[in-house]
């Protein structure tokens, strides 16, 4: 999704679960090797360097859910490349860390899913490769790492964009 997409096109809502002050959050930078744009609600996991990568695939990594975009102003100062562009500036803030909600006792609504039909109690996973890396999709227990279970069918995120609701649940591929 373009960094200039409307704010309301990419959303994550914590429908149920701990209040904001008590949520289990994790903060880390996004790995420079991530090629997909990080959108709100996308599935993230930590690589060996402690940086966020998109999706969990069939790994046993803990799924987390992006609370902001990779291009948000409190995450990424953006701008031209200082090493090549004579007009580059350098942001002192932000720090480059993205906030993510760790898989736990939550019901979440997210716009970051592969379009399709999802049934109640359907297992969800998120591939870590390709263009759909980080997006929720149907998963197979025992084959994929499960990061959620559908709680409500696809609906509206309140701003006209489709959103999928699910309970976060970590079932590693063992």
């Amino acid at each position: 999704m373009s960094p200039f997409a409307p704010m309301t096109s990419s959303t994550i809502n914590v429908l149920k679960g701990a209040e904001a002050q008590y949520r289990l959050m994790y903060f880390a930078p996004v790995d420079p090797g991530v090629t997909v744009a990080i959108e709100r609600g996308m599935v993230l996991s930590l690589n060996a360097a402690g940086r966020f990568v998109a999706g969990v695939g069939n790994s046993k990594a803990m799924p987390m859910f992006a609370m902001g975009r990779g291009t948000d102003f409190d995450v990424n100062a953006g701008g031209p490349n200082i090493a090549t562009d004579p007009s580059a500036w350098v942001g002192i803030s932000p720090s480059g860390k993205l906030a993510a909600l760790v898989c736990g006792d939550y019901e979440i609504s997210t716009t970051a899913f592969v379009a399709g039909t999802y049934a109640f109690n359907q297992f969800l996973t998120s591939t870590d490769t390709g263009a759909n890396a980080g997006l929720l999709s149907a998963g197979v227990l025992g084959t994929n790492t499960i990061c959620g279970i559908v709680s409500r069918p696809v609906g509206d995120n309140g701003h006209g964009y489709p959103a999928l609701s699910f309970w976060t649940k970590f079932l590693p591929n063992v």
Binding site: P3, F4, F73, D74, I82, S87, V90, I92, S93
Partner: protein, 312 residues
């Protein structure tokens, strides 16, 4: 750093205990004015980022809207370039030049201390300076985080050791041999003015171990009076070869034998505070939790106002 006498320390401890053990179990308490004031006082004295680029507190009216994000930001303007004047014979007209200038953004994020937790009843008999511990932990950690972010930006602005910065066409992070001698220091002071922008370095920053190398300077480098002073008091000058220097103990941020140079703040960029350092305190029954936070932003708009020297 100022320290309070025992009588005042006890008074502050009592006030803090009263503040966190008062009525209203489960209610969120705002920090008492006195505690807030103490926090702000230490902020002015510690840290070097705010001495290099003074931080200005701004309100919502100074922020700029953005169509694609609700995060606060501010757009700053940079002085436009213009080509040099020219001499022409009769009948000539100058080249056309469309006036252009560029903007750069200032973004904001939070700086937090850890959330400290304590059973209030265990504070009843402590004789430690609770305020000093709170301030030292909270304020110093926040200042160190500010300093670290700023120096990380300075390193990015100079691209890397021995590498040309495209904005100036000059290597602004130089590696110089020869040890910390007067001649080497002179060479480090020449890095910033060597760019086409001719900005003079306004202030230098080094750690205290680098500074102690000046104690090795002998009479030909220091003169008789200073040499005698060094023997008695050690190096005590903050102004060296016509420039002010800051000395820091944060060796993790400023490695030994590295000197950062900064132009006048108006040449570097901007630094803002949206939320002053604030302490959040919560008490539930006998347990108290507290942390400090602030919302700050900054940007280096002109990378030619930063220079770094690594002395070998």
């Amino acid at each position: 750093m100022a320290y309070f006498d025992p009588a005042e320390t006890a008074q502050v401890n009592e006030a803090f205990f009263t503040a966190v053990s008062g009525n209203g179990s489960g209610m969120v308490k705002q920090a008492q004015d006195m505690i807030d004031d103490y926090t702000r006082k230490y902020m002015r004295e510690d840290g070097f980022y705010r001495k290099i680029i003074p931080m200005t507190t701004i309100g919502n009216d100074k922020l700029d809207k953005n169509l694609y994000s609700d995060r606060p930001m501010r757009i700053e303007e940079l002085e436009p370039n213009s080509p040099a004047a020219m001499s022409l014979p009769y009948g000539g007209l100058p080249d056309g030049f469309t006036m252009e200038y560029r903007n750069y953004p200032v973004y904001f994020d939070y700086v937090f201390t850890p959330k400290f937790m304590k059973n209030v009843d265990t504070l009843r008999t402590t004789r430690m300076d609770i305020r000093k511990i709170m301030n030292d932990n909270a304020v110093k950690d926040m200042l160190a985080e500010e300093d670290g972010k700023f120096l990380s930006s300075c390193l990015r602005a100079c691209v890397g050791p021995g590498l040309i910065v495209p904005g100036s066409g000059v290597v602004q992070h130089q590696v110089l041999a020869g040890g910390v001698t007067k001649n080497t220091i002179v060479d480090t002071q020449k890095i910033m003015p060597s760019t086409p922008f001719s900005i003079s370095a306004h202030m230098g920053l080094m750690n205290d171990l680098t500074m102690r190398e000046f104690n090795k300077w002998d009479v030909p480098q220091t003169g008789d009076n200073v040499a005698a002073d060094i023997i008695e008091k050690g190096w005590s000058k903050e102004r060296i070869l016509g420039m002010d220097y800051l000395f820091t103990i944060k060796k993790g941020l400023v490695p030994t034998n590295r000197i950062f140079y900064f132009g006048d703040p108006k040449f570097i960029g901007k630094s803002y505070c949206l939320q002053e350092p604030t302490m959040w305190i919560k008490r539930e029954a006998m347990n108290v939790e507290f942390y400090s936070f602030e919302l700050i932003g900054g940007a280096i708009g002109n990378t030619a106002a930063i220079a770094i020297a690594d002395i070998q």
